[in-house]
Amino acid sequence: MKKHPFYGIIAVMCAMGALFAQPTPEAREEKTVTVYATDSFCGEWGPGPAIVPAFEKKTGIKVNLVSSGDTGEMLTKAASEKNAPIADVIVGISDNMSSKAYAAGILTPYESPNLKDIPSFLQFDPKHRLIPFDYGNFAFVYDTEKLGKDMIPHSLDDLTKSQYKGKVILIDPRTSSVGLGLLLWTIEVYGEEGYLSWWKAMKANALTFADGWSSAYGLFTEGEAPIVISYTTSPVYHVMYENSTRYQTLLFDEGHSTTIEGAGLAAGSSHIEEGKAFLDFLLTDAQLDIATANSMYPANGSVSLPSAFDYAPKPQKDLTMDGERIAKNLERWLTDWEKAMAK
C-alpha cells in the first residue's frame, strides 16, 4: 500500500528549508550610519545609489540606507521609534510637512558648517532641525504626444474646463507632500474662500487622486492620463537620461508654489558624529547627484547645473507660504478638504 505522500512532502520541505535558510551574518563592529529616506530617494532612479558609495568611499562610514515609504510613512516610522531610535539621519522632509516633524519631536538641531553655501531664503528652519538639500516649484507636466498644442492649459482655472475630463492625475494632499503642495498652491492662488471650489470642479477632471508622487508619475508615464502634478524640473530627467523632450512643464501665469526638501539629525541617535558627517556630505559632494537624480535645484548655490536644466522653465512668480501659517491651519484645511471632496 502506497504511503500517503504527506510524509514525503514534509521531508522535502524540511530539506528545502535547511537549504534556504541561512543564518544572518554577525554584525561587524565598524562605523555605521542609518539613514531613513523616502522611497524616491532610495530607489533605483533616485540619488541614493550614487551618493552612498561615494560617501562610504570618502569617509569609510558604512551607510545603512532604509527606504521608508513616502514622507508621511517615514515620519510615522521614526515617530514610533522615538524612544529607541534606529535612524541616525532622516532625509526627505519638505518645508510643507515640517510642522509635523517638529511636533513629533524626532529631530535634533544641527547647524552644519556647510550651511554657509546655502542661500538664506532656503533655510526654512531657523532652528536647523531640518537643513535644506534641494528645492523646486510644483507644476503640472504634460505628455506632448497625447496633448495637442491647442489643448494646452495656461492656468489653474483652465484645468477645470470640461475638455480635460479624466485627463489630470492629482495627488491626495493627506498622504503626500506633493499633494499637500498642490493644496497650498490653490490656497495661495484662490484664498481660503475659493480654493475648495477649484478642487470640487477638478473632481470630474481628475483621473484619480494617487496616494503619492511615485504612483502618480508612474501612472502618468504608463500613459493613463496626459497631465500630472509634479515639479517644474521633471522634464530635465527625461532629457538627461532618455534624450527625450516628450514631457514638458506647463507654466501658469498666476505663479507656482515652492517646495524645499530637508534632512535632519534624528533625536536620540547613537551615531551622532556619523550622522553629522552624512549631512555635511549631503550639502556638498552629494549636491550634483541629488540635483540630477531628483531633478530638483540643488540647495548649494555653487553647484553648476548641466544644460538639461534649461528645459525647466522658471516661473514668473514664486508662491511660498509661511511655515507658521501652515502649522496653525494644516489640520483644518485637510479636514475641510476631506469633507468637501467626500460628497
Binding site: 500517503h4 505522500p5 504527506f6 512532502i9 514534509i10 520541505m13 524540511c14 528545502m16 528549508g17 534556504f20 535558510a21 541561512q22 544572518t24 551574518p25 522611497d39 532610495c42 530607489g43 533605483e44 532612479w45 533616485g46 545609489p49 527606504s67 515609504g69 510615522t76 514610533s80 521609534e81 529607541a84 534606529i86 509635523k100 511636533a103 491626495d172 493627506r174 498622504t175 481628475a206 483621473l207 484619480t208 494617487a210 496616494d211 503619492g212 511615485s214 504612483s215 508612474g218 501612472l219 508615464t221 504608463e222 500613459g223 493613463e224 530627467y237 527625461h238 537620461y241 532618455e242 527625450s244 514631457y247 485637510l334 478638504w337 476631506e338 469633507k339 471632496m341 467626500a342 460628497k343
Partner: protein, 557 residues
C-alpha cells in the same frame, strides 16, 4: 451514560491549544488591545471613541465601506456561483488547473494585483490598446479604473474563487437523492434547483459570502489606488491616513475600534454559520455523478464562462507576466523583450537599486514560508482540539482564532510597531511568528470542519481498545486529517510568500522578502522588475496549488 463519558475524555485535550493561544495572545491580542485603548483618550473632555458616533463624516465613511463591500460580495457571487455549478456538475479537462489558477490572486500581495489591473484594464492598458487597434479608435473606449466600478471589479477578481471553491466543495458532497426524488415526483430541473438544492446550499453560500464581505470590508490597496478619489474612502484608508500620515493615533484607534466592532458582528455570524453547516447534513460518499458536458448548451456555457474567467482572472495576471519580459533602457523609451529582470533576480547579473536584493529576497521568502507552513500543522491541530466541541466557549475561541482575518491590516500594522519596539527591533523569528498568526485563520478554516466531521465512533472504538485521549488524538485523528492538513499547509505557504504588511514593519534591514522588494520596486517605478518578482510569486503559488489539487485527486481516486 457512556456517550457523555466519551465526550469528556476527548475534550480533555483542550490544553494542547494553550501554546497556540499564547502566541495569539502575545503577538496579536495584546498589541491590538493596546492600540485600541488609545481610542479612549480624552480630548476636549470627550472620549475620542464616543465622539465618533456624532461625526457625520466618519459615519459616512462607514456606510460607504459597508456599501462597497456589499456590492463587491454581490459581484463575487455573480461570478462565483455559476463557477461553483460548473465545478460541481461537470468533469472537463483542465478543471484542476482552473481551480488552481483562480486561487492564485488570493495569495498575491494586493499591490501586485493593483499593478496587474493597471497594466491590463488601464486607459493605456492592454485591453484598451487591443480595442483601439481593432476598432481603430483614437481614445480608449473603456474607462474602467479609478472608480467604484474598478473597486468592485478588483474585489470580485480577488474573491470569486472563495465563493466558487467553498460552495462547490459543499455542493459536491451533498447527498443528491432528494434532487433525484424531486425529479421523479415531476419537478423540472429548474424547479428542483430552486426549491430543493438552493435551500440546502444556502448556509454554505451565506458562509462564503460573509467571508468575502469581511475581506472586501478590510480591503486597502485596491481602494487606495484603483478607487481614484477621496469620495471612495473606506474605514481602512481612513485609519491609514490618521495613523500614518496625520500622526493622530487616538483618532486612528477610535476609528479602528468602531470598524472592529462591525467586523466582530460579521465574524460571529460566520462562525455560527460554520457550526450549523458542520452539523447539518451527513456527507455522502457517493459524490455527484460528474459528466462531461454533452449537450450543446452546456458546452457553450462552459466555454463562455471560461472565456470570461480568462479575461477576468488571467488578464491582469498574464499582463504582469508579459510585462516582466520587457525592459526599456529609459523610462519613456520603447520596451522590448528581455530577460534582464530575471537575470538580475537570480543573481546572474548585478542589479541596481532594489533588484540587487531580489535573490536574497527569494531565499528569505521561501525559507520563511517553509517554516511558517510547517508550523501551521501543530498550531492548527492544537487549536482545533479546543474549538471542536459544542458550546459557547468554543464559539468564542473560534472567533478569537479567526480574528486576525477580520482585523484591519493597518491596525495590525500599528500593533506591529509596538511589538517591534518591545522586542527591540524585530527580526527573523518575529516575522515568522507574525506570519503564523496571520495564516492561522486560513489553516483553521480547512482543518476545523474536517476535525468536526470525524465520526465519534472512531474515537470511541479507540478508547475501548485502550487508547487514552492523547494517543487517540495522535494515532487516529491526526492521520485522518492528513489531507486537510496538507491543504492548510499549502495555503499557508502561499499566503506567507505574499505577505507584505507584517514583514515590512517587523523585519529588520537584513530581512527582505519578495513582496517587500516588489513594493519598493513599484515605489521607485521599476514596474518591470516588480512584474518579474510577481511572476515568480505567481508561478510558485500556482505550483503549490496544483500539487494540492493533484493530491486531492489521488485521494478521491
Amino acid at each position: 451514560m457512556r456517550a457523555r463519558e466519551q465526550k469528556a475524555r476527548t475534550d480533555k485535550l483542550g490544553w494542547l491549544s494553550l501554546p497556540a493561544f499564547l502566541l495569539l495572545f502575545v503577538l496579536f491580542l495584546v498589541p491590538l488591545a493596546f492600540t485600541l485603548s488609545k481610542a479612549f483618550t480624552m480630548e476636549e473632555g470627550r472620549t475620542m471613541f464616543f465622539s465618533l458616533f456624532r461625526d457625520s463624516y466618519t459615519l459616512h465613511v462607514l456606510s460607504f465601506t459597508l456599501y462597497q463591500a456589499f456590492l463587491s460580495t454581490l459581484a463575487s457571487l455573480a461570478v462565483g456561483l455559476p463557477g461553483a455549478y460548473l465545478m460541481t456538475k461537470y468533469k472537463f479537462p483542465g478543471k484542476s488547473l482552473v481551480r488552481a489558477v483562480s486561487t492564485v490572486p488570493f495569495v498575491l500581495p494586493s499591490i501586485l494585483v493593483v499593478l496587474g489591473f493597471v497594466i491590463f484594464y488601464g486607459n493605456n492598458g492592454i485591453l484598451n490598446r487591443i480595442l483601439m487597434a481593432v476598432f481603430r479608435l483614437k481614445e480608449p473606449p473603456l474607462h474602467i479604473l479609478y472608480s467604484l466600478g474598478a473597486i468592485i471589479l478588483a474585489h470580485a477578481f480577488y474573491n470569486f474563487p472563495v465563493i466558487m471553491n467553498l460552495v462547490s466543495t459543499t455542493w459536491s458532497q451533498m447527498d443528491y437523492h432528494p434532487e433525484q426524488a424531486a425529479l421523479t415526483l415531476g419537478a423540472t430541473r429548474g424547479k428542483v434547483f430552486r426549491t430543493i438544492t438552493l435551500p440546502r446550499l444556502l448556509p454554505s453560500i451565506l458562509s462564503a459570502s460573509t467571508l468575502v464581505f469581511l475581506f472586501c470590508y478590510n480591503s486597502f490597496a485596491i481602494i487606495l489606488v484603483l478607487g481614484g478619489g477621496p469620495q471612495y474612502t473606506t474605514m481602512e484608508t481612513e485609519i491609514y491616513r490618521r495613523a500614518r500620515i496625520s500622526l493622530d493615533p487616538s483618532r486612528a484607534a477610535a476609528i479602528a475600534l468602531l470598524s472592529l466592532l462591525v467586523t466582530l458582528v460579521l465574524l460571529v455570524c460566520y462562525v455560527l454559520l460554520q457550526k450549523k453547516l458542520s452539523h447539518q447534513e451527513p456527507f455522502t460518499d457517493k459524490p455527484w455523478y460528474q459528466k462531461k458536458p454533452e449537450k450543446g448548451i452546456s458546452r457553450i456555457l462552459i466555454i463562455l464562462y471560461c472565456v470570461l474567467a480568462v479575461l477576468f482572472v488571467l488578464g491582469p495576471i498574464v499582463s504582469v507576466i508579459v510585462r516582466s519580459f520587457s525592459a526599456s533602457s529609459t523610462r519613456a523609451g520603447a520596451s522590448s523583450f528581455s530577460l534582464k529582470w530575471y537575470r538580475q533576480l537570480f543573481g546572474w547579473e548585478r542589479g541596481t537599486g532594489n533588484m540587487s536584493q531580489a535573490w536574497n529576497a527569494l531565499r528569505h521568502s521561501l525559507s520563511i514560508a517553509l517554516i511558517v507552513s510547517l508550523a501551521t500543522i501543530p498550531t492548527s491541530l492544537s487549536l482545533s482540539t479546543a474549538m471542536r466541541k459544542k458550546g459557547w466557549l468554543s464559539v468564542l475561541l473560534e472567533v478569537v482564532g479567526m480574528l486576525p482575518l477580520a482585523v484591519s491590516s493597518v491596525v495590525i500594522g500599528l500593533g506591529y510597531y509596538l511589538i517591534a519596539h518591545a522586542f527591540h527591533g524585530g527580526g527573523y523569528l518575529l516575522v515568522v511568528l507574525a506570519h503564523l498568526v496571520i495564516v492561522i485563520p486560513f489553516a483553521l478554516r480547512s482543518v476545523l470542519p474536517a476535525c468536526r466531521n470525524i465520526p465519534e465512533n472512531y474515537l470511541a472504538a479507540a478508547h475501548t481498545l485502550g487508547a487514552g485521549p492523547l494517543r487517540t488524538f495522535l494515532t487516529i485523528e491526526v492521520p485522518l486529517l492528513k489531507n486537510t492538513l496538507l491543504t492548510g499547509m499549502m495555503f499557508s505557504f502561499a499566503l506567507s510568500l505574499g505577505e507584505l504588511n507584517a514583514t515590512m514593519t517587523l523585519g529588520d534591514s537584513s530581512i527582505t522578502t519578495i513582496p517587500l522588494v516588489m513594493y519598493q520596486l513599484i515605489g521607485s517605478y521599476n514596474f518591470q522588475g516588480a512584474c518579474a518578482l510577481g511572476t515568480v510569486l505567481i508561478l510558485v503559488s500556482l505550483i503549490v496549488f496544483l500539487c494540492d489539487e493533484w493530491m486531492k485527486g489521488k485521494e478521491n481516486g
